[in-house]
């Protein structure tokens, strides 16, 4: 009898753990999608416009009835300045560009993602030479560049010279988590509380390419979401030397601590031949949607049983 109360309290304390454990690691709603018929939803304006082409990761954020799309437009050439475009939508399907010019062209902005905290939009993007930088905005339209991200090794020294791109941030409990890739050879994780200095949690990647063909040699992480007590990373990957150019495809991995990741056995989420990358999940109020970005925006809805 004396043990009854402690036992009951212990059981109550364990309920959240039990409930998370009871959930499948990869719920169907996070991994099973099929493209809609009217794809692509959004494409470059083409010749004669500032966005002859769009590329890499754009980002969609839904705030109630308002959907934001930030994308990278450029003149179609490799060295051409990558500029930030912006469009809005009422349904996440039909998009309207804001004006006929980029909303930001003072610096190179490519492969971006946006975290909204309070009323502030924080944009993490690649700058010139794949050096990640931070931009800030209150309205999502007018951006101020804060500067390159200062990423440090575990010992506090700067990471070795070279690109560090596809920055993906996740904010929780006063700590910013930054995932980044180096030449797509792995995903590293650094954290910061002040956004001035980011320190690796480990100097080894937290997510590596392979072993499957779809991400055998290259990976880049696009988004972190938290769902039912677990973290999910949406990323894309490619093998080298199989096709030219390489076909990229999207995958998902799960973690309980943001450091140790397990890839979904059913990856890639879409067939390799579709060559769909820079995928992100957006909740439309009733279900998750899966958007892929590179080259054009494609929408995928949950697969019907």
């Amino acid at each position: 009898m004396n043990y009854l109360l402690p036992t009951l309290l212990g059981l109550v304390a364990c309920l959240p753990v039990i409930s998370v454990a009871a959930e499948p690691e990869f719920p169907t709603e996070l991994v099973s999608f099929e493209p809609v018929k009217h794809n692509p939803l959004f494409v470059a304006s083409g010749e004669g416009h500032w966005d002859v082409k769009i590329r890499e990761r754009g980002f969609i954020l839904r705030e109630g009835p308002r959907w934001h799309l930030w994308f990278t437009g450029y003149d179609g050439t490799r060295p051409g300045l990558k500029m930030l475009g912006y469009a809005t939508s009422g349904d996440g399907i039909h998009w309207k560009r804001m004006g006929s010019k980029p909303v930001y062209r003072d610096h190179w902005v490519e492969d971006m993602m946006v975290v909204k905290q309070g009323q502030v939009y924080f944009m993490f993007a690649e700058g010139r030479n794949d050096v990640s930088h931070l931009l800030v905005s209150i309205d999502g339209v007018h951006w101020t560049r804060r500067g390159p991200l200062d990423v440090r090794l575990v010992n506090g020294r700067r990471i070795p010279e070279g690109p560090y791109g596809t920055p993906t941030a996740y904010y929780e409990g006063g700590t910013w988590h930054l995932f980044y890739e180096r030449r797509d050879l792995g995903i590293w994780l650094a954290t910061s509380r002040d956004m001035l200095t980011w320190t690796n949690v480990s100097d080894d990647p937290v997510l590596r390419p392979g072993p499957s063909l779809y991400d055998r040699d290259l990976v880049a992480l696009n988004q972190i979401i938290k769902y039912k007590g677990r973290y999910y990373a949406y990323y894309h990957g490619a093998p080298r030397g199989v096709e030219t150019p390489s076909l990229w495809s999207s995958g998902v991995a799960v973690s309980r601590d943001l450091r140790n990741w397990k890839k979904y056995p059913g990856n890639p989420l879409r067939p390799r031949k579709e060559n769909k990358s820079s995928g992100i999940l957006v909740h439309d109020g009733s279900q998750f949607r899966f958007y892929t970005m590179h080259g054009a925006v494609h929408l995928h809805l949950p697969r019907k049983p």
Binding site: G64, Q117, G118, Q119, V120, F122, L134, L135, V136, S137, I138, D139, H142, T144, R145, R146, G147, G174, T175, R193, D194, M195, L196
Partner: protein, 94 residues
């Protein structure tokens, strides 16, 4: 003097003045706190967020996030709240 003993004699008129002064002083604290919370705190949101939008104070974000959580909750709790906060931020060019 025993603080519990009231003054007597020629200074007999002092107790009420003394008590009134103490009462006035004791009121100032809550009033000041009320003004701070009721006016200065929400009013500060606009200029502070305008600075954040300009890339300043970003390093303080974990603190600002907690400090202004009630206002952010208000902004996210209803369309009216969002409109009010957006309007106020707009006044600051944020």
């Amino acid at each position: 003097m025993d603080p519990d003993r009231e003054p007597v004699g020629e200074t007999g008129s002092q107790p009420s003045d003394f008590a009134a002064g103490t009462s006035r002083r004791s009121l100032w604290g809550p009033v000041a706190v009320g003004i701070l919370i009721g006016l200065v705190y929400p009013a500060s949101y606009g200029p502070v967020m305008a600075q954040v939008g300009l890339g300043r104070l970003v390093s303080l974000w974990p603190i600002l996030d907690v400090l202004y959580a009630p206002i952010e909750w208000f902004a996210e709790s209803s369309d009216l709240g969002a409109d009010v906060v957006d309007w106020y931020l707009g006044l600051w060019g944020a």
